[in-house]
């Protein structure tokens, strides 16, 4: 390779350089989206065998509560995005405040989800009550577990507070947000 071509290849940016954040975080995000995507596809596939039963089961869900949780999570994502921006501007305490607020809204999400699960438990609705609830508990429970991990990650990146680290942690939180905006209409809203 000539000196000129070596210089040219060093200067040509790869499409991977265009990707915001860390490549491994995107691999994780895509993996998670594939898992949840397959779950939602399976849910709608099984629904074809019993649409009336799925609609009747869905009537036991509190749609407005899930709508409130959507507001909580997208607002949390907004605060996390502001935290990432503040981190790149070198505003450490603003970054930490935004991450803390985002994490607190994550806790609010989990509390509302806990109340929802408690309501189902009080009605005697479990995983085996109907295939709808098998998917409901599996998908929303797995998502809630990601919210728990996301809160921990926001705490860790807030402690370290380096711009790159914050960006990667916040990307995980946005993935949790993204999964919810797909899960919410399919599980809670579609009739």
């Amino acid at each position: 390779m000539t000196e000129q071509s070596q210089s040219s290849s060093a200067e040509t940016p790869s499409v991977l350089d265009e990707l915001p954040g860390d490549l491994m975080m995107w691999v994780l995000i895509i993996s998670e989206l594939l898992v949840f995507g397959a779950g939602l596809g399976a849910f709608l596939g099984v629904r074809i065998t019993d649409p009336e039963g799925f609609s009747a089961a869905q009537d036991h869900l509190f749609r407005a509560g899930a709508g409130l949780n959507t507001f909580v999570l997208v607002t949390s994502g907004f605060l996390a995005a502001l935290a990432s921006r503040a981190a790149h501007l070198g505003k450490v305490w603003r970054t930490r405040a935004m991450l803390l607020a985002a994490a607190m809204l994550g806790v609010v999400f989990l509390i509302i989800k806990g109340v929802e699960y408690a309501g189902k438990y009080a009605q005697g609705i479990g995983v085996e009550t109907h295939p709808f609830f098998t998917f409901y508990y599996l998908l929303t429970g797995f998502h809630a577990a990601h919210v728990v991990f996301g809160i921990l990650i926001l705490g860790i990146v807030g402690y370290r507070c380096a711009p790159r680290t914050v960006e990667v942690g916040v990307a995980f939180w946005h993935m949790v947000d993204l999964v919810w905006v797909l899960l919410f209409p399919v599980i809670y809203l579609l009739r």
């Binding site: 499409v15 265009e18 990707l19 915001p20 954040g21 995000i29 995507g37 939602l40 596809g41 709608l44 596939g45 629904r47 074809i48 649409p51 799925f54 009537d59 749609r63 407005a64 899930a66 709508g67 959507t70 507001f71 997208v74 607002t75 994502g77 907004f78 996390a80 995005a81 502001l82 921006r85 990307a171 946005h174 993935m175 947000d177 993204l178 905006v181 797909l182 919410f184 209409p185 399919v186 809670y188 809203l189 579609l190 009739r191």
Partner: protein
């Protein structure tokens, strides 16, 4: 309102409220027959738009056109698949 993050957040809140109201209306019998399916298709479309907003503005793909096109193409086909399964039910 010039801040794209604020616009994205407002868009997500408004669209979430819209889809919730639409679903509650369907559940209370405001729509019937084929209109229920139309309402469902609209709810899925709103979910698709919300996912695009998160990818572009929250996850920053608006600044990465190559990856944005890739993600949005796959997402569009996936949402079409979900729509097909929904209408098949």
């Amino acid at each position: 309102m010039k801040d794209p993050l604020i616009r994205a957040w407002i868009g997500l809140v408004v669209l979430s409220a819209l889809s919730t109201v639409l679903s509650v209306a369907v559940a209370h019998g405001a729509l019937s027959g084929a209109m229920v399916s139309v309402g469902g298709a609209l709810i899925l479309t709103i979910g698709w738009v919300k996912a695009r907003i998160i990818l572009e503005q929250y996850l920053g793909l608006a600044q990465a056109p190559f990856w944005r096109r890739g993600f949005e193409t796959v997402l569009a086909f996936y949402m079409l698949g979900l729509l097909g399964l929904y209408l098949g039910g």
